[in-house]
Symmetry: C2
Amino acid sequence: MVTMAEVAARAGVTKQTVSNVVSGKKVRPETLAKVNAAIAELGYKPNLVARSLRTGSTSTVGLFVPHVANPFYSEVVEEVENVLVRHGYNLLLATTRDDPDYTRVHLENLAARSVDALLVAGDKGVGRQLPMLAQTSFPVALFAWEGDPPATLPVVSIDYEHAGYLAGRHLRDLGHRNVAVIADLPPHALRVAGLRRAFAADGLAIDDSKVFARTSDDAAGGYAAACAALEADPELTAIFATHDILAVGAVEAVTRSGRRVPEDVSVVGFDDIAQVGRIEPPLTTVAFPKREMAQNAVELLLRAVESGKPPTNALSLLRPTLIVRDSSAPPRTTA
Amino acid sequence: MVTMAEVAARAGVTKQTVSNVVSGKKVRPETLAKVNAAIAELGYKPNLVARSLRTGSTSTVGLFVPHVANPFYSEVVEEVENVLVRHGYNLLLATTRDDPDYTRVHLENLAARSVDALLVAGDKGVGRQLPMLAQTSFPVALFAWEGDPPATLPVVSIDYEHAGYLAGRHLRDLGHRNVAVIADLPPHALRVAGLRRAFAADGLAIDDSKVFARTSDDAAGGYAAACAALEADPELTAIFATHDILAVGAVEAVTRSGRRVPEDVSVVGFDDIAQVGRIEPPLTTVAFPKREMAQNAVELLLRAVESGKPPTNALSLLRPTLIVRDSSAPPRTTA
DNA sequence: TTGAAAGCGCTAACAC
DNA sequence: GTGTTAGCGCTTTCAA
């Protein structure tokens, strides 16, 4: 490996001058030429680890996601990487698997590696580590945070309660009165609360007996929960699933039971992941600007890194919107 | 930040002894206790950047993928991270967007950061950088490599030609004679070649006029190409798409044209990404053990890292299998 | 087993 | 604008 000292010797200058050239500081043109020539001849590349040790900065940002294979998060990962590359940073990716221990281990590791910043997507399994997150030496931001947002850290998220409300209002306005919910609880409690509020506005209630916990976070989990819901009440006219993957399973369950979506049972999902626009029928769902949010969150962090100031400690909530596709319609018999 | 020197002072020993404790070397029990007490009291965590500068190893492995939001690659990312964490390594993720320039920039960056190894998934946009890849100071392996595998680097992949053959044989055996192909060419040329070989065995040929290049690598691209194929020959009875996302679009195009899958037109995909088992109808596709392959590839690299020897330069091809679901059936009128 | 000294490759601070 | 000096926090080497 070629070092700065070798380049310096070759160019007849000191390390410092080479350093100045590399970092684009003021250098006399003829020195610049000599040094650049030496760099080119020797094929010198600066050692970023050494630079990091000296400066304490690694040009690396950590990203925590619960799972990468989940389409919601893989879009987030992609967008985060986009922004980082554009700003000259690297992405250190860690999956937390909704597990507090994984989260802790990863966090300690990132701290020891001195990442410049950390973005935490999703709050399952992270909540317990909040005190640690607030004590790091680098800026941390929370993304798609659904629980009680901590006051100490900046949060870029959406109003999940309102998002649930949008779904509820849609079903209510269509005339549905007998609605089941398939949910990942407690994490998605706010989505359900919003749905309930929409119905409560008309004096309607969604009983706890109509809320079904999913067994797993894949389509099979949604399928099983929807089967249970249909069995418990064959008369129900709509299902709200707290995320799209569950909704995909729910559509399948409805269809397999001999009913049709949306004629017999409407299904509404949540997230607007890419694939649900193309299932049969295309899914009505609550969307929010994931990529824009991810971009905001990363830029918030990078501003903090580059200014040396702690990040603006704001709660930034982007607006969810309802995407009405073909999986929702008025109930067959309006009660 | 607490340094080793501070711990040493506190424990009344030298840095060296603390270092020995941290790295689990032989230390007298009472010294060990003293040092551990000091570590605990001060909350000392070793600075991994400093360690890396000294040792030249970062416990970090780079992964190149074309895109993360593509479900095929997001599964790969997830599995790679699984294995790395299990072995105590970190994941530095870079998306290459099938672009040689991105690839080059990322590669130089990783080299300067002294990652311990690099796994390159997918070959689009990477081919031109092969000489650079072969010259790095750390082990490199190629994953899901479809082009001519270079002799200088280990490759973990599948036999794409055979995979295409499996799809072709399936359609041929069902009795299809008028088949269109929707392909990402030239990258997926081998898959198409395999398909052709299957038909050639019966003296049948798939004319170039039946091969349609997709316009983009999303479902819309598959949709457009399938529409073109159906327009060019309304009599065709089957479509082979060189990856599942295209197939999803193709199914949609067939359905929208008023035809039915598989009664009027069979559709066969490639990759077996998670979602295609749940579209309507569930897709027949060629599967291969992505996760197992990813695991093999990473472990190959880590063995090389830990042994200090270059990786076994082998071409490891796992076997693809055909998953027959509901999107393929005999043609309505057997020619 | 532990200590002392050296240095990984770079940048910060200051003098010239 | 460029050189000199010092040191980031750790591990390696060698001596005790």
